[in-house]
Amino acid sequence: MVGGGSAGTALAGAATLRRPPRILVWSTNMISDPGIDLAGSSHLHYPPQVVVISLPCTSGIKPAWLLRAFEQGFDGVFIASDGDECGYLADCSRRSAGIVAEAQAMLGRRGMDGRRLRMAAICSVCAEPFARQVREFARAVAEMEA
């Protein structure tokens, strides 16, 4: 399954990734995951290197998990949060933002670009916004130093 034009592994220290960036998305069972489902149901395309882990609430994400994703080779992590729609927590956005900030600080200490971790609210019908956001994020990550 070697890609024709874009062959060649990325080299350490290369300016940009030579392969499509791998993006790990965190979604929520009730809100953003249905939105991501809708993107698929609507046949809105985004890169297949985008994979999703769904869990009840983004406030339950451990910063260590985010770090783990990068250590295992993901190039970007996207948190599809519930914004103000979270069914559990009125202050979900604040808590999730805190988790992101903590993980970004950990990335910074490892010399990594904090922009590789992004969070945006994706509602249960945000099919188009999701597809657009991850496409754009994949592009942005691809342009970051590998």
């Binding site: 060649g8 392969r19 395309h45 297949p48 994979v51 882990i53 009840p56 451990k62 783990r68 099919a127």
Partner: protein, 618 residues
């Protein structure tokens, strides 16, 4: 980790998955995964036949884990959990992997990428399943009272049905009277029953049932509690009434589409919507008049505000309602010329008979193309409709008429407050979303909230009542058991790892975590009293956090705040999520430029590939 016996089933979903994902390749890729003892593909994993096959495999291969890779977990988690339970496998040992909505359908442009992604997703599903353990739901008694929101036809019928099942009902209606839209209607298709009479009968039926409490001029303003035992607040007449209910049924109805001024002549004298025409007919007797003169000709323009960019749906009742109205006008204004300018005619079922009858009685049908709607103009004080009629070879036809009726459909009601209070799932069309239109047609993803009637999409009155009764059946089946099973996917604290800091107690929005005396790991016997523990620094042997399973809603927000990693959410444990991340990352080229050992959570040394595989993703 002890070894497991996992069965993996990959679905073709007809071709919805296998048209883009190479299913045999996925089967081949995961066949040799550790702990996997059986892998099969199936045309439809949800079919009875395949479920029976999985059932047999569970028994025969003594499976202790199950992975089904098919559609979104929103559709069939329940199906496969129940199947697992029947086969003797704990339902929580099963994992649903979404390779349709989040794979085949999202990557129809890239079959290779989709296949590769499907393999990753299934591997991740297997990795997560390795960490499952049997979970038993907490059983609680339920409140034998139902809150019905919306006192229209559907809500009234549901209230009666619930009361007849022996449940107490509180019927909350925002306006001053019960009856809703149907209450204001005259004869309705197909039987010509008068809406107001129908509603009057239901009102009498409710009056005869002391189990039903009706609150008019009332609104639901808050909901809290757990499955089967909710605490709701209803604002009525300036006061707040607090009620304990076991379930909430939402039947808040629809709104009519309001044409924009100028849309097909709307705003001109003589141009009105179907509901406006019907209301004129209902409130008068004898011939229909316009400007004091008997109406001699009418043009009905169908699909106004429907099946377009703004509202993509078909309201499916308006064709029949219009034909029915035309028949009424034939009675009241004999000889009136009636032109039906339509896009597609949907007088389904027996309503087709009305269509035939209307044609026999002089209604003329003209069909316009989707991209060529009719035009309405007013010339010399006379309305004129111009249409290119596909039934007469696209000929342009001008229809001078007395009235132009815009056949408008149903749209979702604006109900922001209720959506906020109940966290109702709203679809792209603005209507409330059921879990599955066929399989779970009145349930929502919000526990304890059932929807019915036109709040979930356009329906005829008969269909609305049927859906109200479906809600009755669903709610009755749940509440009449007397007990409810709470989702066991809740948080738990490992008391041996807890340092007693109590940060999680603050973090829990449901007050489900409290500090309790720690069971001493070795020999034990000494239980620390609150006074003892509160006197000094938290330490092992002091108080530890404990989660009340009945209060925990399973959000997991307590897990990240724990400084010692002592909290896990069942189904999403640290070990499981970590394994899932690793499995998803497995197909990646190595983490170039970031090699070396990294200290992971809990001090574990993470394995980092020293050498990147030479394979390129796509």
């Amino acid at each position: 980790m002890t070894s497991r016996r996992i069965g993996v089933y990959i679905c073709h979903c007809g071709g919805n998955i296998s048209d883009y994902v190479d299913v045999p390749a996925v089967v081949g890729a995961v066949r040799d995964e550790p702990d996997v003892v059986v892998v099969r593909d199936a045309m439809f994993t949800c079919s009875d036949l395949t479920q029976q096959e999985i059932f047999s495999d569970i028994v025969e291969h003594r499976l202790d884990g199950l992975v089904v890779a098919s559609c979104s977990p929103k559709l069939h988690t329940f199906t496969f959990r129940e199947m697992a339970r029947r086969a003797g496998l704990n339902p929580y040992e099963y994992t649903q992997v979404n390779i349709r909505e989040q794979c085949s359908w999202a990557h129809t442009d890239d079959p290779q990428g989709a296949t590769r992604k499907a393999i990753s997703l299934v591997r991740a599903g297997i990795a997560g399943t390795r960490g499952t353990r049997p979970l038993e739901p907490t059983v609680v008694e339920t409140t034998q009272r139902v809150l019905v929101v919306g006192g229209g036809l559907t809500g009234m019928r549901a209230a009666i049905g619930l009361a007849d099942l022996g449940l107490a009902v509180v019927l909350v209606e925002k306006t001053a009277t019960l009856g809703g839209r149907v209450g204001g209607m005259g004869p309705m298709f197909p039987h010509g029953r008068v809406g107001a009479d129908l509603v009057a009968r239901l009102r009498d039926d409710i009056g005869r049932r002391p189990a039903v409490t009706v609150l008019t001029g009332a609104e639901l303003v808050a909901k809290s509690g757990t499955y089967g035992n909710y605490h709701v607040v209803v604002a009525v007449g300036g006061e707040r009434r607090e009620l304990a209910v076991g379930q909430v049924v939402v039947a808040t109805g629809f709104a009519d589409y309001e044409p924009h001024i100028g849309e097909l002549g709307y705003g001109m004298p003589g141009v009105l919507t179907l509901p406006e025409l019907v209301s004129r007919l209902d409130s008068s007797h004898g011939p229909l008049l316009h400007d004091g003169r008997r109406v001699g000709s009418i043009a009905y323009l169908y699909c106004v505000g429907s099946r377009n960019e703004e509202h993509s749906h078909c309201s499916k009742y308006c064709c029949s309602a219009t034909v029915h109205t035309a028949l009424r006008i034939t009675e009241r204004n004999p000889g009136a010329r009636q032109y039906h300018v339509y896009r597609d005619m949907r007088t389904y079922g027996r309503n087709e008979e009305m269509l035939t009858q209307s044609r026999r009685r002089g209604s003329l049908y003209l069909k316009f193309a989707d991209d060529d709607p009719p035009e309405v103009a007013r010339e010399h004080g006379r309305l004129e409709v111009t249409v290119r009629d596909l039934l007469s070879a696209g000929e342009e036809i001008r229809l001078p008429v007395d009235l132009v009726v815009l056949v408008t459909g149903m749209v979702a009601r604006q109900n922001r407050e209720l959506v906020d209070v109940l966290k109702l799932p709203v679809g792209r069309d603005g209507f409330f979303n059921e879990i599955h239109p066929k399989l779970r047609p009145v349930e929502t993803v919000v526990d304890g909230v059932t929807i019915c009637g036109t709040c979930q999409g356009p329906k005829t009155s008969a269909e609305s009542v049927a859906s109200g009764l479906a809600a009755v059946t669903h709610v009755g089946a749940m509440l009449k058991r007397g007990v409810a099973e709470l989702d066991p996917q809740v948080a738990s604290v490992n008391p041996e790892a807890c340092n007693g800091c109590a940060v999680c107690v603050e973090a829990c929005p449901f007050g489900a975590i409290s500090m309790v005396g720690a069971p001493r790991p070795a020999g034990g016997g000494h239980r620390v009293t609150p006074a003892e523990a509160g006197s000094g620094e938290a330490s092992p042997g002091g108080l530890v956090a404990a989660v009340a399973a009945t209060g925990c809603k399973g959000c997991g927000a307590c897990a990240p705040v724990c400084p010692t990693g002592a909290i896990d959410l069942a189904g999403y444990t640290d070990a499981q999520v970590t394994a899932i991340i690793d499995a998803l990352a497995m197909d990646l080229p190595g983490p170039e430029g970031r090699t070396g050992d990294v200290v992971g959570p809990g001090g574990a040394r993470l394995r980092v590939a020293a050498e990147a595989p030479a394979e390129v993703v796509r």
